[in-house]
């Protein structure tokens, strides 16, 4: 197993941002095939492919489509989650920048399955260049008459990690503060504007044309039995050749880290791998002999997540790593649910005390205890995302936490690779013009 180009197929030899080049490699053929099928037939085909959601949860995309209440008198909507914000993830950005038409083709096929006439692509506000490329591709495809009775609207976010959570995304798209909704009702029943809504990640939807091209049976034979297909893996941090690698699911993690991405540079030792973006439990060096697929990663106590590996070498203080990560989740907590809003703040305070050498051993248990009371107690998983990695750091590198407390300070003595890192201020409570004379 190794490289398998599905999402990025053709990008080496063609500029697939251009419609004529995408058409020349067989682009948009899947739309005609899909529209020749009834929605039922198309949903069956998608279900047989077992395309699992690439956004993190791994829920089969075809099953999601089957849950849409197509008998509802309300319009049905397809929403594409292009709010990629998980620290470590930069793969959807590459799909939009290099193969926007494959995403658009996937939208048109998926819209037919759920009988949707309107598609919304919610792209994070920071992705300005990607937005411009995607919008140009949408305009070009529409002008070429490829849309039929479907339209696609690209909607830009404005800077909030939480909008990657699907119901928060819907609220942001409706012009509100992007905060998660209680479930049930789930979006397939009552989503955007209270209408049946299918929400999928960019990479999921952009894989759909390949299912049309190969046929569900052939697609299901790639990758592993429970995780067919390919995924783009983002790899970053202390790694010789960081970047995006599209691989067949089930490819060994060691192969990606060492053979493809060149291993840990500067003669350093591997210390940790956070395999799915910063929100999942980290792996120790003796745990990386694992196939990169949903079930294999879950079996060893972590998650596939956003298919984004952050590689950490032995210069890094694990308490500083936990603290910087916890500050991110505190900053991004939307404030709606108390366990997450208050809990992430408490986690940061305790980690700050441990890092400063101003803590007692009981603070480690306190940190674990707070975490256990955040888990599963909020409307969405953001609070859980703060706890999962922190618990793994405490469990697997407990001696470093203890050393901080016993030595009364950071054992790295200022030499950690994360030393001096600053987290962003909340700009809405801190005026950036404070220093400017009137």
């Amino acid at each position: 197993m190794a490289e398998l180009q599905v999402l990025l197929a053709g990008t080496d030899d063609h500029d697939l941002t251009k419609l004529d080049e995408y058409l020349a490699v067989g682009g948009y053929a899947g739309v005609g095939k899909a529209r020749a099928m009834t929605p039922e037939e198309l949903i069956d085909e998608l279900q047989r492919a077992t395309l699992r959601g690439r956004g993190g949860a791994g829920f089969p995309m075809g099953r999601k489509a089957s849950l849409i209440d197509r008998s509802s008198p309300k319009p049905k909507y397809l929403v594409v989650n292009a709010d990629e914000s998980e620290p470590g993830a930069f793969k959807d950005r590459e799909v939009m920048a290099r193969v926007p038409h494959r995403l658009i083709e996937g939208c048109l096929i998926s819209a037919h399955a759920i009988e949707a006439h309107e598609v919304f692509i919610f792209i994070r506000g920071e992705y300005l260049s990607e937005y411009e490329i995607l919008q140009a591709a949408v305009d070009e495809a529409r002008a070429a008459g490829l849309f039929g009775d479907v339209d696609i609207l690209v909607h830009r976010g404005a800077g909030a990690y939480i909008c990657g959570e699907e119901t928060a995304l819907l609220d942001a798209l409706e012009g509100r503060r992007g905060q998660p909704r209680p479930r049930p009702p789930f979006p397939p029943v009552q989503g955007l504007y209270d209408a049946p809504t299918q929400i999928n990640n960019v990479s999921t939807i952009a894989t759909v044309p390949a299912i049309m091209e190969m046929g569900a049976e052939a697609f299901a034979k790639t990758g592993t039995e429970s995780s067919p297909g390919s995924a783009i893996f983002s790899i970053s941090g202390n790694i010789a050749r960081p970047g995006n690698y599209e691989l067949e699911l089930g490819t060994p993690m060691r192969e990606l880290i060492y053979d493809l991405a060149g291993g840990v540079p500067d003669g350093r030792e591997l210390k940790a791998v956070i395999p799915g973006g910063s929100s999942v439990p980290a792996l120790a060096p003796d745990e990386i002999d694992v196939p990169l697929d949903y079930d294999s990663l879950q079996k060893i106590g972590t998650f596939f997540g956003a298919a984004s590996l952050i590689v950490v070498d032995d210069r890094c203080c694990i308490v500083q790593l936990a603290l910087r990560s916890a500050k991110f989740y505190q900053h991004e907590s939307c404030g709606k649910c108390t366990p997450c809003r208050e809990g992430t703040r408490w986690m940061v305070q305790i980690l700050e005390r441990i890092e400063a050498g101003d803590a007692e051993l009981s603070h480690i248990e306190l940190l674990e205890s707070i975490g256990s009371r955040i888990l599963g107690r909020s409307l969405c998983a953001l609070g859980d995302f703060a706890v999962y990695p922190t618990h793994s750091y405490i469990t697997k590198w407990r001696n470093e936490f203890v050393a901080h407390i016993e030595q009364g300070g950071c054992p790295y003595g200022g030499a950690s690779s994360l030393e001096g890192i600053v987290a962003p201020l909340d700009q809405h409570t801190h005026s950036p013009m404070a220093e400017v004379p009137a």
């Binding site: 319009p75 914000s85 998980e86 620290p87 470590g88 993830a89 930069f90 309107e118 506000g125 920071e126 992705y127 300005l128 260049s129 609207l153 909607h155 830009r156 976010g157 404005a158 800077g159 909030a160 990690y161 409706e174 012009g175 509100r176 503060r177 504007y193 983002s234 970053s236 941090g237 202390n238 960081p242 970047g243 956070i274 910063s278 952050i310 950490v312 890094c316 790593l321 910087r324 990560s325 991110f328 900053h331 690779s417 994360l418 030393e419 001096g420 890192i421 600053v422 987290a423 962003p424 201020l425 700009q427 809405h428 801190h430 005026s431 950036p432 013009m433 404070a434 220093e435 400017v436």
Partner: protein, 153 residues
């Protein structure tokens, strides 16, 4: 009716519910004013039949809206894990010394607001710096003087 309101309503017509134009309208208003003063929030509210308080509540939720004045240029350095592991701190320090301000501050001539931000989604090309929303990738401290010179013209 103002040209701004016309433009906002044209955006709103593309959505099943005009409230969906709130984020685009706030962005448009910010492009005109440089930030979102009370007057801008009122313009958005009037165009969409919302209240200024509602518009402020929405704007204050998102990091890309400025409810206080900012400099003519915006320099944002990512300091999340992947950038930090390969030395975003040194890039932050270089901007501090080149601009003479700390993160979260604006230069005394009002030209440049400098801040650190959470993950911009360029982790494989660390350190990522957004200069007026355009990404500069693989930025090292040695690149900083050139970026600042570019901005100061």
């Amino acid at each position: 009716m103002s040209a701004f309101a016309d433009e906002v309503r044209a955006i709103a017509e593309r959505y099943p519910d005009p409230r969906s134009a709130t984020l685009p309208a706030l962005r448009l208003a910010q492009e005109r004013h440089g930030w979102l003063p009370p007057e801008a929030l009122r313009e958005v509210a009037n165009a969409l039949d919302l209240t200024p308080a509602y518009c402020k509540a929405v704007a204050s939720f998102y990091d890309m809206y400025h409810l206080a004045p900012v400099g003519k240029h915006l320099v944002e350095v990512c300091t999340n894990l992947s950038c930090a592991l390969v030395g975003a701190q040194r890039v932050v320090e270089a901007f501090e010394s080149e601009l003479g301000v700390a993160p979260g501050e604006t230069t005394t001539d009002g030209e440049v607001t400098f801040r650190t931000v959470e993950c911009l989604g360029g982790c494989g090309y660390a350190t990522v710096v957004a200069v007026d929303h355009r990404y500069r990738q693989d930025v090292t401290p040695a690149d900083v003087a050139g970026i600042v010179e570019e901005l100061r013209g």
